[in-house]
């Protein structure tokens, strides 16, 4: 019962499809194709085979109608050209040809791709391949320095034996010191280690020193050294005759450490010529050279 109902349903469907396909065929062929296809349908026994035949007829009528239209247009064009006109065979422009449909499909695909790129579609699918760069400061640890241990000093006691005929030089009087506060200062002790010729013990010799009226150190203190706060002591060697005058230009025997102060000390010693106290031997003034100190210092 069910099989018969299904058979009826398939027959109805296939005959309807064939009728529908034949109606779409060109007029002269419509009745012929419907009867021809129904006759062929009657020779098919399987339901699926009958259904395939009817569907194939729907597909076939499209090509049949298309070829029929082309043949008609060719014939019409030939007639028009024979009458003196140049005709161009055209298909029915009311329907899309396969070429036009392909063109529109390609245009639609391009528009879709461009829209996808415009809205940033690619950004949803791309993933960053690497983390952003991060700058780190790497501290460089200096390698340990292995310095060799200093050698242990070898202290050894050496005995120095002096020759028996070495004479110890006598201790001289201290050098006179010219102080900025006082015009004349007592001579400082002389610690010069230069060899001094042996003195005859019968002669009592006393070195001279800057005397009364000797210039003041403040008058020769360079201003630039005062601003710099420089202080120092320069030892000057002066050769003085019996009348207290310089016999030669004084010289620096021990620098103060600052050239400007040494130069000022020489100017002061030169300016003091005639105001020196001459050295004496047994109380008599004699011409001799002796050192004395000139100190430049700042008062608070």
């Amino acid at each position: 019962m069910t099989s018969e109902r299904t058979q009826d349903w398939v027959d109805t469907l296939t005959q309807g499809l064939i009728h529908h396909a034949a109606q779409r065929a060109p007029g002269p062929l419509s009745e012929r194709l419907e009867e021809e296809w129904l006759a062929d349908l009657a020779e098919r026994h399987g339901k699926l085979s009958r259904l395939r035949l009817s569907l194939g007829c729907c597909w076939a009528v499209y090509f049949i109608a298309r070829e029929q239209r082309i043949a008609t247009v060719h014939a019409a064009s030939a007639t028009v050209a024979h009458a003196g006109f140049v005709g161009y065979p055209r298909e029915d422009s009311s329907r899309l040809s396969s070429r036009s449909a392909t063109f529109f499909v390609v245009v639609a695909l391009h528009v879709a791709v461009l829209c996808g790129l415009a809205v940033g579609l690619s950004g949803h699918f791309t993933k960053p391949t690497a983390a952003p760069f991060v700058t780190r400061v790497i501290e460089r640890v200096p390698p340990p320095i292995d310095l060799p241990r200093p050698p242990t000093p070898n202290f050894s006691t050496t005995t120095i034996t002096l020759p028996p005929d070495v004479e110890v030089p006598p201790i001289q009087a201290p050098l006179p010191l010219v102080d900025a506060k006082a015009d004349v200062s007592p001579a400082p002790p002389v610690t010069d280690s230069a060899p001094v010729p042996p003195m005859q013990p019968a002669v009592l010799r006393l070195n001279g020193s800057p005397g009364k009226g000797f210039p003041n150190t403040d008058d020769f203190y360079p201003d630039i050294e005062i601003r710099a706060g420089a202080q120092g002591l320069a030892t000057v060697m002066a050769c003085v005759d019996a009348k207290g005058r310089l016999t030669s230009n004084p010289t620096i025997v021990q620098s103060s450490g600052r050239p400007r102060l040494d130069e000022a000390a020489l100017k002061l010693a030169k300016a003091g010529s005639g105001h020196y106290v001459a050295s004496t031997e047994d109380g008599r003034p004699v011409s001799a050279c002796y050192p004395f100190g000139i100190r430049f210092y700042l008062r608070k």
């Binding site: 062929l29 021809e36 006759a39 062929d40 020779e43 076939a60 090509f63």
Partner: protein, 101 residues
């Protein structure tokens, strides 16, 4: 539908249809018979039959029966024309030589 012969585009399916008729050129075959021989789908077979008929290679006629008494529709029978037979022979001859007309 007999028309002056026209150029027919030769395809593999067209050659199969011609081959089924060349087995016995005097046979009159319906669409169902051709389908049984070359196993072509109806969507391909019927346009080829109509194309060859329009080109003058085939002629067709209705089966000589009474549909009401037979209880079925009339079949459309196709047959090769002398021109179709000659052209089909030339096509297959050139095909065998490697030259496809």
């Amino acid at each position: 539908m007999g028309k002056p012969e026209r150029d027919v585009r030769m395809s593999l399916q067209t050659l199969k249809v011609l081959e089924s008729f060349l087995e016995n050129p005097t046979d009159q075959l319906s669409g169902a018979d051709v389908h049984q021989r070359c196993k072509l789908a109806s969507g391909t077979l019927y346009p080829i039959l109509l194309r060859l008929e329009a080109a003058g290679w085939f002629v067709s006629r209705w089966e000589s029966i009474d549909p009401s008494s037979a209880g079925r529709p009339r079949r459309r029978l196709y047959r090769l024309t002398p021109t179709g037979l000659k052209r089909a022979g030339e096509v297959f001859a050139s095909f065998n030589r490697g030259v496809f007309a």
